[in-house]
Symmetry: C2
Subunit: 387 residues, 2 copies
DNA sequence: GAGTATATGTTGCCCCAACCAACAAAACCA
DNA sequence: TGGTTTTGTTGGTTGGGGCAACATATACTC
């Protein structure tokens, strides 16, 4: 009971950034005195601060403002083909620092662990001794067994059955939580981005490694029996023989390919921004044709997800945002054509808001989860290494 | 707190049919004395009975057995093209009686309400005066806005924007809860059938009106923003131009059609049993070809759902069970081919267990839901009409 | 600027509901 | 028959949220 209420209050503080005590009372339904008690406990635990926020928003005594502590932090790790990115995120969901370490070749798991460990050690040095660390969240472009943090298959990285969690935990002495990158992105957009407040969300992310997805069902992350759920890129939408990065044919991922766009623009590699500029300014018929084909395929995929999930929002990320921006009406029309009238009527299709920070914010959430669910028993690690 | 614990205990009694008090203590984690208190409250509320079950299962004092009361009942209504079926179900999930009223033509909503009202009145007469009614659950072959029990579209019945819930409630004086038939079927199989105990389930049902579906995600029914979620039949799996009953092309429903099978067997109409007999005993090449094509399409659809939901079980119902039985290996191979290695490894494909009773049991669950979630405040209606 | 209305923080007390410990009861075993 | 084990029962304890009364800080009114 107490644990549950503490958790609810801390989550509100965490997600909203800062809340007044009166907001807490009204949305939890708990008594003023109870909220007072809970907040002071959270303050004592070092998770929140109370300040006399100069809100002056109306009649009556102004309510105290509760803000999440910046003394509680998590690290985020995102191994990619060409780089490993490490970030430092506070409990308030703010990314304090990001370090991107370019890698010559597609890194092995060992190399990635080493790179991340070094970067984390550096970041750790800069931390204030009063700060405490919740853990490390890792975003993997591939399938992850969440229960024991094992990467089952990450096609681009060439990782198979890699116990990344235990490796990184061993190297850093910190608790590690690993999950699929798109699932993490979905959670981030729901908690802090374009899907904030929605209970039913479909998220589609496309990068150089294919299409990933995630879903929020009734407010909860879709995980599935082992944590592989939400592979929305590997869903069959046509009879095409083109195969995706996992060898499945006719899937969304096989038909909406970043490489095809790079090819038509004669680019070898490009950032999403560079690619977007080409897309939005193109006058080539050939490029337009390919773009339209991809938009139609994307629309067909989204339609299916609208029928399946009846979501309030479909969030696009990666270069899918460029497809959407190129011809929004075409995409929306395709969605409309392919989905049931009732299911589509409330759905909003929009681009993600978090951009580059998505995975940093989201991965950190993994590490904060335990703390948020059970604040009083949270195991935080002091900045100074204990050994 | 109290409400929550009462709810948990009553749900266990409801789902397991009968439980010993010691089982309740161990699986809830509550104290013996607390369980004793909760059970006696449920007994006083008239939802459960305690008996000295002659279990004699081991050393120690034998635990009392708690069984759900047969004095609490719900009605189930299932309007179809050729008939409206009404059932009487107890809190223990047992179907006491089923009345199938054949309808000459596809009934209007008014006709269906009238038929159901009459049948319910008849059943009500036979009830014991000590019994109480939780309400009426309605299974609709179409899309239902759950919030206000409005049938948005039921293609076979030709119903559009029909406020079936309020109509039936008006006519009977009982609370009415309406939902999609396949969603209801899914819930029934999870609570009492082949998917019992699973947290992640995909359910596919096929009848004369097309393919419906449902899903359980992390133990919760997939409903979506408005309750239209789980339309698993209307998902695009190919480029075919054949359209389904909702006008969408290339969908699972458009490729796995009961009518095509009836046609090849030169049947005009048939029960699922009759159709199954033809299928299992056929030696026709043409029929085999069609069956294989449908099995492959079904396999492709299931593959997608395995990738999306990473379920523990995929449950088939309606004539899909016949397809599965005709060539189980072919279907399983198709699933294997089309889905990700990690996602497919734990999944079980099996037929539903509840058969004809599925919708009766499941629809009644809708009416029991409020009672199960808040036993102490449940509003039950006595058998005798109050007015 | 004094008085009033409104909203919130604070404090002490109450009460519900789960827990605990001790005892009783009903099975099995030697 | 007595010992062991498991469960039901009872009375007392305790944790934690609710409540009422009071204090405090703002806006509004004249």
């Amino acid at each position: 009971m107490r644990q549950h209420n503490l958790s609810i209050v801390l989550q509100m503080i965490h997600f909203y950034g800062s809340v007044t005590r009166s907001q807490l009372t009204s949305s939890t339904g708990l008594n003023r005195s109870t909220i007072s008690d809970l907040v002071s406990e959270l303050e004592q635990l070092g998770f929140a601060h109370e300040t006399e926020g100069a809100s002056a928003s109306g009649v009556g005594r102004p309510s105290l403002v509760v803000t999440p502590s910046t003394n509680v932090v998590s690290f985020s790790v995102h191994p990619e083909v060409d780089a490993t990115t490490v970030g430092l995120v506070t409990l308030s969901g703010k990314v304090i620092k990001t370090v991107r370490v370019p890698m010559g070749q597609s890194p092995t798991a060992e190399q990635s662990v080493q790179t991340a460990t070094n970067a984390i050690a550096e970041l750790r040095k800069e931390l204030d001794p009063t700060q405490r660390i919740a853990g490390i969240g890792v975003a993997i472009p591939g399938q992850v067994r969440v229960s024991d943090n094992v990467v089952r298959l990450a096609p681009q990285l060439g990782w198979v059955e890699v116990p990344f969690g235990s490796m990184l935990s061993q190297a850093t002495g910190l608790p590690v939580f690993v999950d699929n990158d798109a699932s993490i992105g979905c959670m981030a957009e729901r908690n802090f981005g374009a899907a904030r407040g929605f209970l039913d969300v479909v998220y589609l992310f496309a990068g150089s490694g294919g299409i990933g997805g995630g879903a929020i069902v009734n407010g909860q992350q879709l995980r599935g029996a082992s944590g592989y759920g939400g592979e929305l890129g590997h869903v069959r939408i046509g009879d095409s023989n083109s195969v995706d990065y996992s060898g499945l044919s006719g899937t969304l991922e096989s038909m909406v390919r970043r490489d095809d766009l790079l090819h038509v623009f004669k680019m070898y590699s490009a950032t999403d921004q560079e690619l977007d500029q080409e897309i939005q300014s193109t006058k080539s018929n050939e490029a337009t044709k390919i773009l339209r084909k991809q938009i139609d395929a994307l629309g067909a995929g989204i339609s299916s997800y609208v029928n399946i999930f009846n979501p309030e929002a479909v969030i696009l990320a990666g270069f899918l945002t460029s497809l959407f921006n190129f011809d929004p009406d075409r995409l929306l029309d395709a969605v409309k054509t392919g989905s049931l009238k009732a299911a589509q009527e409330r759905v909003v299709v929009r681009n993600g808001e978090l951009g580059d920070e998505t995975l940093m914010v989201g991965a950190a959430e993994l590490a904060f989860r335990g703390l948020l669910e059970n604040p009083s028993d949270a195991q935080l690690v002091p900045v100074k290494k204990s050994r």
